[in-house]
């Protein structure tokens, strides 16, 4: 039997950063991960570390995350290939450009420093962008990183600060005995703690349901693809207004692209699927003409939780004191994840987060019946 202050279910970037901040604050933590830390969404995502384009309600948290990302090497011991390359959001029509202008106006004051580029400015500054783009919004301090390295490193850093990290350790049962949580794992571990953090990603709905607060979450599978190394061309990470396709180039020269949805192989594994892959290969050459003739060498996908409003659930359970939820990041939790871990830590250590989490309360689904 293991007695700790907090048990965290799920070793993605959210759970692992909570483990790190809690251990740094002197709390005894046990992190339980069914597979390997950072081997699901957090390790296989596109690697976009961007604030631009998020709903305004996420920007305070995202801005905090931005500061944490700026301290990455001090925090987790590696740079994780994080670079503030800038994030360029392209418009393919004047309507889309207007939407970008509106976003830039409404997000003023959140520290994004967006720059709007018309067609001529876009051509001059980013000549590798295809003619289909009529303009763009540029966020100079957004960027990208290597999720395969960053997310596991959060768990490693937590371990260095004293957290118990149990990998290949699936949580099989959770109870609350009126005093504390009793958590057991398939591997036979038994843990007790007054706090339980539900950071189980796309699989977090089960626990919420057990505590009487089911959420209408479904799993999605963004399709990803990478090219062979190419000469360095892209000096910004990109996306398009309205979605559809996004691309970045890593220092080694490979371009990473994403777009569309794949399919689930089973509850834990997903593939990008032929349709999404072909769609990326087709669309990409319009937006990034230099890719014509380049080769895609690998494709993949992951399993991510989506709620109907595409906003996460973060914060207290409304039914069980001591239970904290953080899941449902709708394809955008990599950037914001470390700030979520920090906010959860503040709840436990200070009684409240320093950034409001009201918009992400699980109670917003209480009136919705879950089929």
């Amino acid at each position: 039997m293991i007695e700790v202050d907090a048990i965290i279910i799920g070793g993605g970037i959210v759970g692992a950063s909570a483990a790190l901040f809690l251990s740094k604050a002197g709390r005894r933590v046990a992190l339980l991960e069914r597979d390997f830390c950072g081997s699901h969404s957090s390790g296989v995502n596109y690697g976009g570390v961007r604030r631009q384009g998020r709903p305004l309600s996420q920007l305070p948290l995202s801005q905090r995350a931005h500061e944490i990302w700026g301290q990455l090497p001090q925090l987790i011991g590696i740079d994780g290939e994080y670079q503030r390359s800038g994030h360029l959001k392209l418009a393919r029509s004047l309507d889309d450009l207007r939407a970008l202008q509106d976003y830039a106006a409404s997000s003023q004051g959140f520290g994004l420093d967006l720059q709007l580029l018309d067609r001529t400015e876009l051509r001059a500054r980013f000549p590798w962008v295809g003619d289909v783009a009529v303009g763009a919004s540029y966020c100079p301090d957004d960027g990208h990183a290597n999720p395969r390295l960053v997310s596991p490193a959060f768990a490693q850093a937590a371990r260095r600060h004293g957290a118990q990290v149990h990998e290949q350790c699936a949580v099989s049962a959770v109870e609350h005995d009126g005093q504390r949580f009793r958590v057991s794992s398939q591997s036979g571990l038994e843990l007790h703690a007054p706090w339980l953090l539900n950071c189980a990603g796309a699989w977090a709905g089960r626990l919420a349901e057990q505590f009487g607060e089911a959420v209408p979450m479904h799993a999605g599978h963004p399709a990803m693809l990478v090219t062979e190394p190419l000469p360095l061309v892209m000096n910004a990470s990109t996306g398009v207004e309205g979605g559809g396709i996004y691309a970045r180039q890593v220092a080694r020269g490979n371009c990473v692209l994403g777009g569309g949805q794949g399919f689930a192989l089973d509850a834990a594994r997903a593939r990008p699927g032929q349709q999404a892959v072909i769609e990326i290969l087709r669309q990409a050459v319009e937006l990034y003409p230099f890719l014509e003739g380049a080769q895609a060498i690998r494709t993949w996908s992951g399993t991510e939780g989506y709620l109907p409003d595409r906003q996460p659930v973060i914060g207290h359970s409304s039914t069980q004191p001591g239970l904290l939820h953080a899941f449902g990041f709708a394809g955008a939790g990599f950037q914001i994840g470390p700030a979520v871990g920090q906010a959860l830590t503040e709840i436990i250590c200070n009684g409240a987060p320093s950034t409001s989490l009201d918009a992400f309360s699980i109670t917003r689904f209480h009136s919705i019946s879950v089929a």
């Binding site: 593939r271 072909i278 690998r298 494709t299």
Partner: protein, 451 residues
Amino acid sequence: MKPVVIIGAGPAGIRAAQTLVAQGVRPVLLDEAARGGGQIYRRQPANFKRSAVKLYGFEARKAKALHQTLDTLREQLDYRPDTLVWNAEADALDTLHEGRAARIEFSRVIVATGATDRILPVQGWTLPGVYSLGAAQIALKFQGCAIGERVVFAGSGPLLYLVAYQYAKAGAKVVAVLDSSPFSAQVRALPGLLSQPATLAKGIYYRSWLSAHGIPVHQGATLQRIDGEQRVRSLNWSDAKGEHQLACDAVAFAHGLRSETQLADLLGCEFAWNPLNRAWLPQRDRAGRSSVAEVYLAGDGAGIMGADAAEMAGERAALAVLEDNGHPIAPQRCVQLEQSLTRINTFRKGLEQAFIFPEHWAANTADEVMICRCEEVRAGDIRQVVREGHWEINRVKAHCRAGMGRCQGRMCGAATAEIIAGESQRAVSQIGRLRAQAPVKPLPFGLEVES
């Protein structure tokens, strides 16, 4: 009606097609190569005019028979050469042909994708002038050219003596053959080998022929390093007597073959560790049925057994398809094929003993040796990740990119697994299996799509 599809027009795929056609089924036969025949019976380009005997030696008769079979069947088949299958989903295959992507749905599929060389890198193996044994053979068979003027053949496996012999016969200068397996292993393996005396006789013939023609053949010989600036200049090898140097301008090396299993993986087949092949292989029953109802496996793609077995397994798998489709089939023929395959498997066990896997390769491989050449990952990089606590191969790949490049681990996967196993002190069967991801081979941007 969705067709029966065969992937691979090697010995296994062609015999499978023939068996189906004989029962009035018109299969689709997909093959990445321009002309059918597969690896061993690879055909030269249409404008080359070398005789079958010149190209295939002892196997000329079999090669001609197989090519003729395909040529005669052409009208009764939907044969699509130059067609890569780059992805597979539940009941469909995704193909690429002359820059056009298309999808083909199948009712049943026979996967007969064959094999490639198993590479265990040494210092210097990425120098120009270094080839795998199979690639050296392809250069000769397909293009009619040698990989160099003074060639050393190294490694182990039946291809070692065969390709050295083919080179010498073709007039190339074979400097030496360095067989990593000790002579004693080959003596121990004799009982198993005797189950296929004709094949054994050929093996002995190649080796004696080489010796008789003054070509040094060394056993228990380990290739240590290959040196050169612009290309291969010399190599070092060692045996019980010490270290030796040889001047040469090309090296062909490999340690046996490995099955091309990615499509079986994408199709959802269950895999199991196969100690004989020292690899994870898709499970098949004696008839070639996989764990997935519509998927059948035949030939070297599901375990290395050689060309004769591939022909039989192709026929057997096709009979299983017919049977499962309700066609009457001759049970005696099935039994006969299964018995022959069992006999060949005994021989195959003997071969594996004779060309024993160099267990010490990983331990003797220095940190600087490049393992994954696509992503430029060295043995030391892999070991470093293992020392950080990782041991599962997909996890190690995620951390250091070994197996993440253009070849998707087809070339470096086996070696990476050995290094991980060595460093983590686990059995190579205990570090997980490299998961296949589409595309099986690179896919170009800007491709056209068939509706």
